[in-house]
Amino acid sequence: MLFAWMLVIVFLAFVACMFEDLESDIGSQSNPNSQIQLAPEMGYIHRYYNKAISGEGLSNALACTISGTIALLLLLMLEPMLVAKDMPLGYAAILAIPVGAMVGSIVHMVRCSTCHLGRESAHKRFEQPIFLDVWIGHLIPIATHNFLTVICITAIAYIQSHLTLLSGVSGASNPFPLPLLCLIWGITVGAIGSSTGDIHYGTERAFQDKPFGEGRRVVYHGQICRYGDCGIRTSKDVAAFCAKYGGPATGLTFGLIVLFENWRTVIGMVLGGLTKTELAHPGVAAGYGIGIGIGVAIVLIVLNTWLVKWARAKYGPFVGE
């Protein structure tokens, strides 16, 4: 059962990080947002949603932690009632997790609404108007994408903190409380979404009229692509593009990380003599976990070296000026 729950966690992780990246594309957050911020200062007025809450890690952590707290409150309120009536505890989780995620997403939506206004009104001298349809029209897509991220992360945290109950193996739960687990995964998912998915948005989609196959030179900064397929582009058009590559790649990153983390820990535990009641040799278990981890790291290093060599051979030196 332990491995089955690990697989569920990995799937949830994949979905969570994919939607985190798409949400940060709809409300242009974090690194590529520096271009959206720069554009009016260079005279390029735009109709993007300038969402600059803070780093992606922290804003995601806020939504997830609030969701985790509300979920914990509801669980603590409902579980004694279920135990008294002798019903399975799953009924509490299925109510607590979505309600918590809803509250978290609403708070996130409120934070988003304030920052677009703040940044655009600070652009008064550059003559950037505030478009009310941009401001209001993006709030619901942001909230819905964020809801999916938050509900998946809250579910992951719930499973990890209740693993003893769910799988029947004692000592498998993580000792951290639910809100703290949500904070940890919220920051990690935000950091990963910021490192991988933002490249697809920042390099490809924001500068789509610049040539493919080269880095964006410093002189191009601020000259973002403001026109869309039909008329003027808004941030909603960005998500449809990035969902083809950037979003799923980001989801894959987090899914693989969670997969290998949990898998090597559990393999270590099994090799260290795991039974339903206790772990016979903790040192051996930890040692095997570390060994498998180092093995995976070596595979990654080899993969990257080969990948970079392949790219250099295939693409060749820079052509042009």
């Binding site: 922290l58 951290f176 991988t196 880095g215 964006r216 410093v218 976990g289 970079v308 030196p317």
Partner: protein, 243 residues
């Protein structure tokens, strides 16, 4: 509590803090320009990246520390935390490279050196002119893996020495809070030291700034460690009254 235990706790906190700072110096942080393929490194800010990898390391460390129950093996748990953070950095950099290569069509090269010091690949003729490099080249990848290992080790070390009943004996939540606070303080001072972006150990900035960075980390960790020792001595947080 015996003086020798207190000294061990202080030394572990200082080593953990300094390793955290060293880890930040080794990570290839590109900042906002890297997301536009104008600079080499991972396309995010320093603060986000190091908190993210430290949190993953802390999570793995807590799971492994739970194997023992009360007296975890300090070295094995810290190493598990380090390996966890290292794997996170590895996957992030690898898939980041996939997006650079296939999504934007560029070759990962470094902007600060003309030849890769480890694999001896020439860099300049593959670089787009008027940029400062793009992608995560091999040397930055190796630097990032080592940085993840070292940073995760430091954070997990502070956590395990605080949670272990043989040393400070805090409860799990208290140990996590204090470890997080000390790690964040060190890592942000290191981020200020490198000025926001760095390519890794081959970057000339690394040699210039590493000594200053480690000195500041030593002083900050020492002060925070003394504060934690005072808190332990009051007995209000320690194992005696613990649930």
């Amino acid at each position: 509590m015996e003086p020798i235990t207190l000294v061990i706790i202080l030394v572990c906190i200082i080593i953990g803090g300094m390793f955290g700072s060293l880890g930040v110096h080794l990570l290839p942080v590109g900042g906002a320009p890297a997301a536009m393929s104008t600079a080499t490194g991972i396309a995010t800010g320093c603060v986000m990246l190091m908190t993210g990898s430290a949190m993953t390391g802390l999570f793995t460390a807590s799971t492994v520390a739970n194997f023992w129950g009360t007296n975890p093996d300090v070295f094995l748990v810290s190493l598990s935390g380090g390996v966890g953070a290292m794997l996170m950095m590895g996957f992030t950099m690898l898939i980041g490279n996939l997006i650079y290569i296939f999504g934007a069509g560029i070759v990962p090269v470094s902007g600060r050196v003309a030849v890769d010091p480890i694999t001896k690949e020439p860099q300049t003729e593959y670089k787009t002119p008027r940029t400062d490099g793009h992608g995560v080249p091999n040397v930055a990848f190796y630097s990032g893996m080592i940085g993840g290992l070292v940073g995760g080790f430091g954070g997990a070390l502070i956590y395990v020495v605080l949670v272990s009943q043989g040393y400070a004996g805090f409860s799990v939540e208290t140990a996590v809070i204090v470890a997080l606070g000390i790690f964040i303080a060190n890592a942000i001072m290191a981020a200020y030291n490198i000025g926001g972006t760095i390519e890794g150990f081959h970057d000339p900035k690394f040699k210039e700034r590493i000594v200053t960075g480690l000195t500041c980390a030593f002083i900050v960790s020492l002060m925070c460690g003394i504060l934690v020792l005072i808190a332990i001595e009051t007995g209000a947080l320690a194992a005696g009254g613990m649930v």
